[in-house]
């Protein structure tokens, strides 16, 4: 196969960006750069490990705790209903009954829940700790104690803790990250490779990773399923055709996934293993969105690699790529 850089027609890494744009590493002529929008500010963890505000329509490169390479942070819309979130004090939060919420703390401290839900969350660092609950009434008492240094507390709907949203005397919404890319269309076959981690972790609902499409509509959706499998749903011009599901589970971290299509057979590779194949007819995409999160509360991902090839690479090559 040679190397990925030579053979891929499109490579996107956590690298160059500006407002409304994510630059592709390849091609270099700008034809496959991603457009990006987010109509609100948002926070990211910088290379010093400090959460900092990023302006509207600017993509977020998020760094791991302890240093290392950053990843793109793409998240769905979320609202923090915990007031004065970075100067947290005990308060009653009005919630909807019988609804799933995630409560999180980033920094050092303890959050104790009572009323609409019970539980204890201990924060030890800026990565944070969280607890997902289903409410049983409309008043959630959030008691904070043992705070030290900079601390963020968040109460949001859904089953995942998203990045901190700073509130004062009102609830605050961070709007969805909306990256859209273009690919050179091949009508003989293609390969997609990505290295991605869902922030929801494992065991919680469908987590959509990307959507591919062309002018005739959706041609596929890639997701991590409720049962922690890796799936690719095949569409032909927005009509569902078939699904290919991994045998092995995803891991609670970055997963290397490749999909190949040679015109008649789809093959799915996960972390170095050929997980399965199906014979099906699908459409050939020329656009993609990371993640596919139109209304998906779990569509939050860290992504540090995306490659697209205009051919179906061999099984051996795909296994090597995902190992």
């Amino acid at each position: 196969m040679g190397n990925a850089y030579d053979n891929a027609s499109l490579i996107v890494t956590p690298n160059g960006y500006k407002a409304s744009k994510i630059y592709a590493l390849k091609p270099t002529d700008g034809s496959s750069d991603l457009s990006f929008s987010r109509a609100s500010t948002a926070l990211r963890r910088n290379s010093s490990g400090v959460w900092e505000s990023v302006a509207s329509n600017v993509p977020r490169l998020n760094y791991p705790i302890g240093g290392g390479c950053p990843s793109w942070l793409f998240e769905p819309q979320a609202t923090n209903i915990f007031l004065n979130s970075n100067a947290p004090a005990t308060q009653a939060v009005t919630v909807a009954n019988a609804t799933v919420y995630t409560i999180s703390i980033r920094g050092i401290g303890v959050v104790t829940l009572s009323g609409a839900a019970t539980g204890v969350i201990t924060g030890t660092n800026s990565e944070g700790s969280s607890l997902t609950v289903t409410t049983s009434s409309t008043s959630l008492i959030v008691t904070v104690s043992g705070l030290s240094g900079t601390v963020y507390v968040q109460v949001e709907t859904g089953s995942a803790a998203t990045s901190p949203i700073i509130t004062a005397g009102s609830a605050v919404t961070r709007l969805v990250d909306f990256p859209i890319g273009t690919m050179v269309q091949s009508t003989t076959g293609y390969t997609i490779f990505t290295n991605v981690k869902t922030l929801t972790g494992i065991g919680l609902g469908d987590r959509y990773v990307f959507d591919i499409s062309n002018s005739s509509g959706r041609q596929g959706i890639f997701n991590f399923s409720q049962t922690n499998k890796c799936e690719f749903a095949i569409y032909l011009n927005s009509t569902f055709v078939n699904r290919i599901t991994s045998i092995n589970n995803i891991i609670n971290g970055f997963n290397k996934v490749a999909l190949t299509f040679n015109g008649s057979t789809y093959k799915l590779f996960l972390n170095g293993v050929l997980e399965g194949s199906v014979n099906a007819i699908g459409g050939y995409p020329n656009a993609y969105q990371l993640p596919q999160n139109f209304s998906d509360p779990n569509g939050n991902i860290l992504q540090n690699y995306f490659e697209y090839y205009t051919t179906a690479i061999s099984d051996t090559e795909a296994i090597a790529l995902t190992t």
Partner: protein, 97 residues
């Protein structure tokens, strides 16, 4: 984009007005009329929620005229704001109120 706040009597009233429109972001807002009363860490009286349908909208272009009668101007930024729009909302609220 412009940022406005609205109150409708029912969600279905909002749905009728917004149907067919594009290029907007609407965020429903739960407004609290009376906070919960907590005594010794226990809820003795639940919060009273506003039964109206409250919604914040970011319009890509001008606000449709049929939405103007439903505009509201709560104190300050109200009980909800989109991150980064605080100053814009306050300034334009002053101009348009």
């Amino acid at each position: 984009m412009i940022y406005k706040k609205y109150t409708f009597t029912k969600e279905s009233d909002f749905d009728k007005k917004i149907k067919g429109l594009k290029n907007y972001i609407a965020i429903p807002v739960t407004c609290i009329k009376t906070p919960a009363i907590i005594v010794d860490g226990k809820v003795v009286t639940e919060a009273v929620i506003d039964t109206n349908y409250n919604v914040d909208i970011l319009w890509d272009n001008d606000e449709p005229s049929e939405f103007i009668p439903y505009q509201v101007y709560p104190k300050g930024i109200g009980q909800h704001i989109v991150a980064g729009w605080e100053d814009f909302y306050i300034v334009n609220k002053g101009k348009n109120k």
